[in-house]
């Protein structure tokens, strides 16, 4: 394998945390292959974002064009394919997110490269690299390899890689690429739903409500706690199906897989379909009135009590804890 390129995602004029995770994986691979690490920043008005990355790659390729203001994955993939050719890249890395996934899949198809998706890590064993990927909702972990010197696109699950210190003194390179805008697809409108809130898959703190919350109004306190902790509210499927919460908050097999530092389940029974989505969290806390609730078999800490008594106390204590730090 040769040089490595990371597709950098950005939001609100700064680099998304997931991209720092991928850049640190890129650095490890770079050291293994003794190759160069490139970061690609694509969009419109992305100058400042590039300068944020100087410590994280050898070269920061910046493609800043009006035609790239709208997110159309085909156009972004086209730009990446041009960079891959120009710089003789042989591995492209990115995150397995709403932005990264379509861009990197389209790129893999365009280049006819191998693709490994939603990876949670890798291990360097002699000459070989084994990539780690969960199957069947995390019930099985597999170790995958890429044939010989096949070029590949790799996407990593958010929050599954550690972010390291950047120690590069990277050079920003402005690239002019003539965009062949794909006329067959056009963005008509884009609306941010969650304001400036962190993406649930990137959140360090998630407090999740289940059917035990009893009513949609009772989620208020979960929102307050999430706010204090700078995190997000999650929901079980029962709660989403009952229309108490939106689907984008659903955690589990048919919702999102999350790996926060702290997950707190409140009135969540812990059905396998739910726990599949949380088992890579660092610390799992469960609050449930039923000592036999299955969530206690996956939790690190459990409180067997009425959540309506516990939550107001928890809110106060977390607030105090936050103020102390």
């Amino acid at each position: 394998m040769g040089d490595i390129l990371v597709f950098v995602e950005h939001k609100d004029e700064s680099v998304r945390k997931v991209s720092y995770e991928v850049l640190s994986a890129g650095k490890e691979l770079k050291n293994f292959y003794s190759s160069r690490l490139y970061a690609a920043v694509i969009g419109c008005g992305v100058e400042r974002i590039s300068s944020e990355l100087k410590k994280h790659a050898d070269f920061i390729l910046t493609v800043d064009e009006e035609e790239l203001r709208d997110f159309v994955s085909e156009n972004y993939a086209y730009v990446l394919s041009q960079l891959v050719q120009k710089y003789k890249i042989s591995v492209v890395l990115g995150s397995h997110t709403g932005y990264g996934k379509p861009v990197l899949c389209t790129l893999a198809a365009l280049l006819d490269w191998a693709i490994l998706a939603d990876l949670t890590g890798f291990e360097i064993l002699g000459e070989k690299i084994l990539f780690k990927k969960p199957f069947f909702g995390g019930r099985i972990v597999s170790h995958l390899s890429i044939s010989g010197d096949t070029n590949a696109v790799l996407t990593f699950r958010p929050k599954s890689l550690k972010t390291g210190e950047g120690d590069f003194s990277g050079e920003i390179v402005r690239e002019r690429i003539e965009i062949k805008k794909d006329e067959r697809i056009r963005l008509l409108k884009s609306e941010r739903k969650e304001g400036k809130k962190v993406d649930i898959q990137e959140a360090d703190f998630i407090i999740c409500g289940g059917r035990g919350m009893k009513s949609p109004e009772n989620f208020r306190i979960l929102e307050e706690i999430a706010e204090i902790m700078g995190g997000r509210v999650g929901a079980s499927r029962s709660v989403v199906d009952a229309k108490w919460r939106d689907y984008d908050e659903q955690i589990g097999k048919s919702g999102k897989t999350v790996s926060p530092t702290i997950y707190i389940g409140c009135g969540v029974s812990g059905a396998i379909h739910h726990t599949m989505g949380i088992d890579t969290s660092k610390t799992i806390v469960a609050i449930n009135i039923d000592p036999n609730a299955p969530i206690f078999s996956i939790a690190d800490y459990g409180i067997v009590d009425d959540l309506f008594t516990i939550l107001p106390l928890l809110k106060e204590e977390l607030k105090k804890a936050k103020e102390q730090t």
């Binding site: 939001k11 997110f71 997110t97 932005y99 996934k101 379509p102 389209t106 198809a109 365009l110 693709i115 490994l116 939603d118 084994l130 969960p134 199957f135 069947f136 995390g138 019930r139 099985i140 972990v141 597999s142 170790h143 390899s145 890429i146 044939s147 096949t150 590949a152 006329e183 067959r184 697809i185 056009r186 963005l187 008509l188 609306e191 941010r192 739903k193 993406d199 649930i200 659903q250 097999k253 048919s254 919702g255 702290i262 088992d279 660092k282 610390t283 806390v285 469960a286 206690f296 078999s297 690190d300 800490y301 459990g302 409180i303 009425d306 008594t309 106390l313 928890l314 204590e317 936050k322």
Partner: protein, 256 residues
Amino acid sequence: MKILTFVKQILDSEAKISLKEDKRSLNFEERFSLNFFDEFAIEEAVRIKEKISNCEVVAISLGSKKAQEVLRTAIAMGADKAVLIETERYEILDPSYTAKVLSAFAQREGFHMIICGERAMDDENGVTGALVGGYLKIPYVGSVVRLEIEGEGKAVAESEINGSFCLYEVTLPAVFSVRKGINEPRVPSVTGVMKAMKMKIPVLEVSSLSPPTSKTQIESYDFPEKRPQVKIIEGATPEEKVKKLITLLREEAKVI
């Protein structure tokens, strides 16, 4: 208009799975189901068909003989035709292999739209739709929550991307992968089920679609690391329990 919908049969989430001794393959209980997200794909295709005239829905699956079951479900829900592309056994396939085979079939069959699920719950890739769009060099929209056909071969698709809702206008042919919430999949009617039972499902050998060789291999399988035993926090009062929890989170888990 011709709509193809990709449906996958997967190992049921309740099926028991164990590792073979060499850790290179799996033993599993033979319990399968239709991939959760593909129900939304079938439903969406059938709803489009019900809205416009002259529309045909064809369900396609790449899988073992047994995968005929999910194709019958698609017929029962209202698809007109189904085709099984047969592979020898149930296994996790290389994603570009699957997408190339499905693309080759789509090209041969002809279509205006392809609707697939957002993610298969066995391999958890969520890449097939985008790869097919890429191989066939046609537009792709993922995580679609709303899909409407406009006149003159255009569609409008609303997609959720990292918390933003993006509305795209797309010229057909195109590929869409749909997520939960786009519709409420119907329960097949009795006549639908009868029709599905009688329907003969054509089987195509995968070799007839010149499948590529896989570029990635599964070297071994493992169980994930077990999480440590839960600590149930005891205390005389709820206040005490909460205080203890905070101390543990700070001093033991070191997460706050």
